[in-house]
């Protein structure tokens, strides 16, 4: 797909791109670059690339495609560092969970002769770092491209073909629409998961040990999401503020209506909502975006998820 692919940042997402590109021969050469020497050394131990350097400018020289996989708050600094060293016709992309702000940060620093095609693979786990990546991460997940108006369609299609080769499905939309969609499907879920775990940790009436012991009643599901990378998520909220606050406003409005239904014992309203929400779950399973196995397949200790965890 690409002669030389440069990966800036080699955490969960960068590390997974490296693995699938290697496994399926999607790049002639993989150059890995990251800020911290320790992370770079670990990537080298794992054999994620062909060459390794902490020097981003050197890393992008001669690259046909550069994919930036860093916390979104670091996007501008990376664009500044690599912009002057991109070869003519190079495709520059990213994997950030926020798009409008990343475009604002990066576009001004990239040369006109490069093709900037921002992207967001909607995939991940609660783990982070180069060890957390795996080649199957993008399989059957969506990758959203948000090319600015006027981007060369051939470059967009080239990157789309790369993502499809990783197992992804590809959709294109504006950065603004992306940020609204992801606010409700990803950012607000993370915010409320972090929030309830924080609330539970600070109660006077219930001890942390009780919260942990009796977490199988539902709470434990939220702790998985709330174990996600703090730097990445801090940056998401700081850089998608407007959409997050708008969607959070909607969530809170609805929550007050629900609180009112509880307070006034409006069983019919509760039952109606609890019935409608099942249809969304069915939709997600029908399109293959989640497993139909009860409890995500982890329910029985000694079941497959448990065995996998123990290696």
């Amino acid at each position: 797909m690409f002669g030389r692919l440069t990966l800036i940042g080699i955490g969960l997402i960068g590390g997974s791109i490296a693995r699938v590109a290697r496994r399926d021969g999607l790049a002639g050469e993989i150059v890995v670059s990251t800020r911290r020497q320790e992370t770079l050394d670990r990537a080298a131990e794992l054999g994620l690339g062909d060459r390794y350097t902490t020097d981003m400018a050197a890393a992008v020289e001669g690259a046909d495609c550069v994919i930036v996989s860093v916390p979104v708050g670091a996007s501008e600094a990376v664009a500044q560092a690599i912009g002057p060293h991109l070869k003519p016709g190079a495709i520059v992309s990213d994997v950030g969970s926020v798009k409008a702000d990343v475009v604002r940060q990066m576009a001004p620093h990239l040369p006109a002769h490069a093709h900037f095609v921002p992207a967001h693979p909607v995939a991940g786990t609660e783990h982070s770092g180069p060890d957390a990546g795996f080649a199957e991460l993008f399989h059957n997940r969506w990758c959203i491209l948000t090319p600015p108006p006027g981007t060369d369609p051939a470059a967009v299609e080239h990157l789309a073909a790369f993502w499809r080769a990783t197992g992804s499905k590809v959709e294109t939309m504006t950065p603004e629409h992306h940020d609204m969609v992801l606010a409700i499907t990803s950012h607000i879920p993370h915010l409320i998961a972090y929030n309830i775990v924080g609330t539970a940790a600070h109660l006077e009436q219930v001890t942390a040990s009780e919260v942990i012991k009796f977490s199988a009643g539902g709470f434990r599901d939220f702790t998985r999401i709330a174990a996600s990378d703090p730097t990445m998520w801090r940056d998401v909220f700081l850089h998608n503020k407007e959409a997050v606050i708008e969607m959070l406003g909607r969530f809170i409005e609805d929550l007050f209506a629900l609180q009112r239904a509880v307070r006034f014992s409006d069983g019919d309203a509760l039952f109606e909502l609890f019935t409608k929400t099942r249809a969304i779950r069915r939709g997600i399973i029908d399109v293959g975006q989640d497993t139909a196995a009860p409890d995500f397949g982890r329910a029985s200790a000694g079941g497959p998820a448990e065995i996998l965890a123990k290696g």
Copy 2:
């Protein structure tokens, strides 16, 4: 453990008790009773008991232990129906997710010669009905007993031994404390999961199809919980109103503080919360209440959870 065990209600929980009791010989005879003939027929097809009847009064005759597994709103009617027919010394228990209100509903209708030991196995999946049960459901989960003051300690220990034989760990506490603990570890997580799925379904800016397609960003986790049995959960909120409203108040307070941190770009506050919440996740994994496998072990399509779902 018991000569005759009568199960009133044969859904996910009742059906799982039946299966583990049968598999491990925890009862000489299992009598299954439920209101709807159709459900009873299905339980019989599945071979969950030795005898089947829709007549609750007949079902409890001669029973050494009666376990009521119905939506908590139905507890009083069941207690009224079975009370006069219990044999002296019979243990009566339930599995409701709410305890103080269930005690209020049931205790007045049970004879003094029976031992009432309310219980709550903190275990479940998003599926419901007799087909959803499985013998391993209680393995390594906690079962909370909330015996009223003055309950015969031998009866409490007898029921505790039964639950331990199912694979559960057993803890005893007051009904009021149980209701507070479960409000935060189970009821509020369900309420906010139902709420965000409802919010997402009613947005003008984002279509339901987009919500479903891009759900792997976090949203899909919430839809699992929001697919839980509507009748059961309506009753939980109606019958644990005070604790739910109190805990919801705490959650909302914290959410407003978090919203403020986003609005005023307080990155340090966000980072601090997002770091602390990881410790709770680690605690839950350390005590064996969740799997350490990334994404609950379901992450890669074709992985074990996927295979399990396909049978």
